[in-house]
């Protein structure tokens, strides 16, 4: 398999996961804001931080209100990380590698891209937006399902999945970094009665709520959520689950995989060993930041081992 295509598929996996994640973030935040009293509104600004575009957003002079943040995240032309751009990249990367996948996957991706171009090209009414994003999540999952159901689990498949899990782990850590810091501030302030609603929304933005409830039957609480999303070994969006998946997939790959394996197992160790009791505020933020750095190193190691040299 060509190194260039391995890279394309890896990025396709990342972008498709990212598209799904952005859609879910927006929808969950919309619902959350409906549930909270005006004074406690979670607002929209955190979404620019989670997606890593806060600086760009502010530099443009935008106001952190719903309309502007959502527009920025969905389709702003200056935002290379917008949902629209993400769908374009997901398609472009797949386009060059389409001959490695079942044809239906390309057709579905292409249809999804066209839908995105159509809906995100203009302004999207709030009502319509919820439906569109909901459908988009389903469309992304449909592609994941097609791959699972009709694609040989060959190298092409491995690279797509590595991309997906790496992106997912990264997104989970970003959500925890921003939301965790906002909800578990440094000082030991009294937790507000709406805390558990907010933690529920953190879970929901990772579709983790239902699985969390089955796993932990107590009232939703900050540190339990943190532990679940970091260390649960069965839930497919927990960071540890993603890291195990990446490790397994890297084992399948040919040639020299030592570097990539080393960084991934190093990450797993850190996630296992870090003390979660009472973790909050700045140290929590730093931990997540560190995880993101190491995920970036994992990407670097994968890139050096299998992608074309720049």
């Amino acid at each position: 398999m060509l190194s260039r295509l391995a890279e394309n598929l890896y990025w396709h996996g990342r972008y498709l996961e990212r598209a799904e994640d952005i859609a879910r973030l927006i929808n969950v935040n919309t619902t959350l804001n409906l549930d909270l009293p005006a004074g406690l509104s979670a607002g929209w600004e955190p979404l620019t931080r989670i997606t890593g575009h806060a600086a760009a957003f502010h530099a443009l002079g935008h106001q952190p209100n719903e309309r502007q943040v959502v527009r920025f995240l969905l389709a702003d032309e200056t935002n290379g990380g917008s949902l629209r751009a993400t769908l374009q990249y997901a398609r472009e990367n797949l386009r060059s590698a389409r001959d490695l996948l079942p044809r239906e996957v390309w057709e579905q991706m292409n249809a999804l891209y066209l839908k995105g171009e159509k809906e995100l090209g203009g302004t999207l009414a709030k009502r319509r937006r919820q439906d569109f994003l909901h459908d988009l999540i389903l469309d992304c999952q449909q592609i994941a399902g097609m791959l699972l159901g009709s694609m040989s689990q060959d190298y092409a498949y491995d690279f797509m999945l590595i991309g997906r899990y790496l992106e997912r782990a990264d997104m989970t850590s970003r959500i925890l970094e921003v939301r965790g810091y906002d909800l578990l501030p440094d000082a030991s302030e009294e937790l507000t009665p709406y805390d558990s609603i907010q933690w529920m929304s953190v879970l929901k933005s990772l579709t983790a709520y239902q699985m969390y409830r089955r796993h932990i039957r107590l009232r939703v609480s900050g540190n339990d959520v943190l532990r679940f999303l970091l260390r649960n070994e069965q839930f497919p969006r927990s960071i540890l689950f993603c890291l195990h998946a990446i490790e397994r997939l890297i084992h399948e790959l040919p040639a020299d995989n030592d570097d990539a394996l080393r960084t991934v197992t190093g990450l797993q160790r850190r996630v296992h060993e870090v003390r979660l009791e009472g973790l909050r505020g700045q140290p929590l933020r730093e931990l997540m930041d560190q995880l993101q750095k190491e995920l970036a190193e994992t990407h670097g190691a994968i890139s050096r081992s299998w992608f074309p040299s720049p």
């Binding site: 472009e92 060059s96 389409r98 001959d99």
Partner: protein, 481 residues
């Protein structure tokens, strides 16, 4: 659908003959289409547009500084040819390509045809497509143009002519294959017991042709398709053919030529040897060591590898020398010289502006003729006399006089028409046909080919880059159905 009033005044119509009656091969299709009501038609139309969009059947159009993906317009009404007629056309195409390959091989080696005074040597001297770097090369099987796309047109009296040969990197075959897929999805009823010949053998024939060129005796040679990349207008086709053949689609940056002149591709398991390259990159960009030094699309050292016989390239570099529009005018002589045969499919009568007497005729009759530059494709840079303005003719006069050898002229053909869905119903539109001829260990001709259609009323320009569309092409065995 009301088609009683369909009439193609003054032209040969491919489906409807004298007295408004469908031709034998088209009878079943016409009867069926007539039975559909307007709702049914529009339902099928949307189904097929959707199928084409979803499949990503697009080509890229460049306009000023931007480019966009556009779906190629597809018309639901098929173009139908009887199997009996097609058998003759097929033979004519094989004859033509055989002669052209002998011609190319001769030009790069002994140049007997020039020494025998049949083909003028000075034409070669200023041909833009003659590559010095190819002199003395003997490619496998002596074949240079492994994949040829020849454009056929039918004149008012029903005669089929070859309008031009494309021996460099002809495209369009993927649309032929996709159009059939779409038609089968949208009109399954029509394909039952209809005697329509299948087209889908092409990818395996292409693979066999390419594999037969391998320099390494191996059961499964490594064949790759070399594309300029996804911003190329025909990228869809490159990806499609690679997928259909089950081979890698590579770009220049994926390949490397080592110091032993061997070609490898960069894979996740390291360097893998490559035997045959089906290249869809123009000669000029193929190897920056030999041709354009600024090419980012090519592979440094590829010509070395090819000349050393370490890798086969299809079409061979330099094959384009024979599809120059000026060379075209000599094809009847070329066929006679190498094969001792009369052309089975005639050339369109052609004036060579490089000849003084032809030149003065052309300059005096610009308003009747079609003038084409030798080295442009895609319908760019043409003058269509009867539709031109005085200013355009003046401009062409100047261009031709400045470089007469670069121009040929042909009469304006009364291109045949085919019923086509238009906004107001069904109307005649002009069409041509591009069959593809494969030459390797064996020769294959596509069953029919790609029918291109000028979507604008009266227009003769069928090129997709200029708004042309396409149709499914049916070769129908009337004796069977």
């Amino acid at each position: 659908m009301d088609m009683k009033n369909y009439k193609s005044e003054g032209f040969y119509d491919e489906l409807i003959g004298d007295g408004g009656r469908p031709r034998a091969a088209a009878r079943a299709a016409w009867k069926y289409l007539k039975s559909l009501d307007a709702d049914e038609i529009s339902e099928r139309k949307s189904a097929c547009e959707l199928a084409a969009m979803v499949a990503g059947i697009t080509f890229r159009v460049y306009f000023e500084d931007t480019s966009v993906d556009r779906a190629m317009p597809f018309d639901l009404i098929p173009r139908v040819i009887s199997l009996k007629e097609w058998r003759q056309t097929e033979a004519g195409l094989q004859q033509r390509v055989r002669a052209l390959n002998l011609f190319i091989d001769d030009l790069y080696n002994d140049q007997k045809i020039i020494r025998d005074g049949v083909f003028p040597g000075e034409l070669l001297a200023d041909s833009a497509n003659f590559r010095d770097a190819c002199r003395g090369v003997r490619p496998p099987l002596g074949i240079w143009a492994h994949i040829c796309g020849s454009d056929l047109v039918r004149d008012g009296d029903g005669t089929l002519y070859v309008l031009e040969d494309n021996l460099r990197i002809p495209s369009g075959v993927s649309y032929m294959l996709e159009n059939r897929q779409v038609m089968k999805r949208v009109f399954p009823e029509l394909f039952e017991d209809s005697g329509i010949q299948p087209v889908d053998e092409y990818p395996s024939q292409l693979y066999d042709t390419l594999a037969s060129l391998s320099p390494r005796p191996a059961e499964y040679p490594t064949v790759v398709v070399l594309t300029p990349g996804m911003y190329n207008s025909a990228y869809f086709e490159h990806a499609y053919l690679a997928q259909q053949m089950g081979v890698e689609l590579v770009e220049g940056r994926d390949l490397i030529v080592d110091e032993n002149d061997e070609v490898f591709m960069r894979s996740i398991s390291g360097m893998e040897p490559v035997d045959v390259i089906y290249r869809r990159v123009d000669d000029a960009f193929l190897d920056p060591e030999v041709f354009r030094a600024d090419s980012m699309l090519g592979v440094p050292g590829l010509m070395r590898a090819w000349r050393a016989g370490k890798v086969a390239i299809a079409n061979a570099p330099g094959a384009g020398v024979a599809d120059d529009k000026v060379v075209y005018a000599w094809v009847p002589e070329i066929i006679a010289y190498y094969l001792g045969e009369e052309p089975l499919i005639p050339n369109v009568p052609t004036w060579k502006c490089g000849h003084p007497e032809d030149l003065s005729y052309v300059l005096a009759h610009l308003d009747e003729l079609v003038v084409k530059p030798a080295n442009e494709s895609g319908g760019y840079g043409m003058l269509i006399g009867p539709r031109s303005t005085k200013k355009e003719r003046q401009e062409f006069k100047r261009l031709i006089k400045a470089d007469p050898r670069n121009y040929i002229a042909q009469p304006t053909l009364a291109l045949s028409t085919c019923p086509t869905f238009v906004h107001s119903g069904v109307a005649p539109r002009h069409i041509d046909l591009r069959p593809f001829i494969l030459s390797g260990q064996h020769t294959h001709v596509t069953t029919g080919g790609l029918t291109r259609v000028a979507m604008k009323a009266g227009s003769l320009v069928v090129n997709s880059s200029q708004g042309g569309g396409s149709k499914d092409t049916w070769i129908v065995d009337t004796e069977r159905s």
